[in-house]
């Protein structure tokens, strides 16, 4: 059965990618889907399964249903309007477009960048991660009280 208004995934994908201004390499970095696989989607050789579809839709800020080819709104409204923090109804807050973008960018960032953001915002979970302590030994130190000297060095910073 042919349903009218249904487009191909590859056309929608190409359109969304062009709109986002992102390169395939960039999308690959964000979604962790290989460039080869993305290239197969682009050519229509294969289509993504649900998990990958969600990753792509999320990265390109479009509705996954639209991306599948269905005749629905292109923008994923739920990204901007429906992303409410789970709070009691009377305290439910609405995120602005900018705030939503920040959250999505955070979710797509790698672990090091995420840690930097948390550090800047003072949200680092200090308890969960033991304090890092590592050193590069100086060569040719043979003092008898070396343990004492090491501790002195550690206390210095």
């Amino acid at each position: 059965m042919i349903v009218s208004g249904v487009a191909d995934f590859k056309d929608r994908y190409v359109e969304a990618l062009a709109d986002s201004g992102m390169s395939a390499a960039e999308l690959s970095r964000i979604t962790k889907i290989s460039e080869a696989t993305l290239s197969q989607y682009k050519s229509g050789y294969s289509k993504p399964k649900r998990d990958k579809l969600a990753l792509i839709a999320n990265a390109l800020h479009v509705s996954p249903v639209w991306l599948m080819g269905m005749p629905v709104e292109k923008r994923n409204n739920s990204n901007y309007e429906g992303m409410a923090i789970k709070l009691p109804d009377n305290l439910r807050i609405q995120l602005s477009e900018q705030e939503t973008k920040i959250i999505l960018a955070y979710r797509n960032a790698d672990e090091i960048d995420q840690r930097s953001v948390l550090r800047i915002l003072g949200l680092e979970d200090k308890k969960s991660e033991p304090q890092l302590l590592a050193a590069h030994e100086r060569k040719g130190v043979n003092e008898s009280n070396i343990e004492e000297l090491r501790q002195k060095d550690i206390d210095m910073i």
Binding site: Q131, L132, L133, A134, H136, I146, D153
Partner: protein, 155 residues
């Protein structure tokens, strides 16, 4: 700007604090987000080598890894050191030194603003990682019997 200054700037952008201190047992030490570098290290190239390793620790390691008799700590130390070799030298650095016409390890080290000792250690690590030779970006780099670089002809 020396490599040490560049790395210090980079570390500070990542939220690390770099200080030069009169250590007696360590060349470099990282405690949490603070890195100490021994003030009396002679050259800025050596300081940059030590600093790169400490930044590697901050990026890749967790917890107290001072006790190197523990296997897990040695693995963490190795990963930070490899990160430092790639950061300071890397296969790109070897090709850069070749393009600069360097003929000895000392000249290569000078070209890359690193210490000769650090360069030798890095080459030994690359030899273990890649074997006798490796092809990279249109060049063939041989680690044995000594460091030689050839430019591969384009067909």
């Amino acid at each position: 700007m020396t490599e040490f200054e560049k790395l210090t700037y980079e570390a500070e952008r990542e939220g690390l604090t770099v200080v030069e201190v009169p250590f007696s047992c360590y060349d470099g030490l990282i405690k949490g987000r603070k890195i100490g570098i021994r003030r009396s290290i002679e050259t800025s190239a050596q300081k940059a080598d030590v600093l790169a390793e400490e930044i590697g620790h901050s990026r890749l390691n967790v917890g107290n890894i001072l006790d190197q008799s523990e296997l897990n700590n040695r693995k963490q130390e190795y990963s930070a050191r490899m990160w430092a070799y790639d950061k300071r030298i890397g296969l790109d650095g070897i090709i850069k030194a070749y393009k600069c016409g360097c003929c000895s390890l000392r000249e290569c080290a000078e070209c890359l603003d690193t210490s000769e000792e650090f360069l030798e250690e890095a080459l030994e690590m690359y030899r273990r990682k890649y074997g006798c030779s490796v092809e990279y970006e249109g060049y063939e780099i041989h680690f044995e019997p000594r460091l030689v670089v050839y430019e591969l002809k384009k067909n």
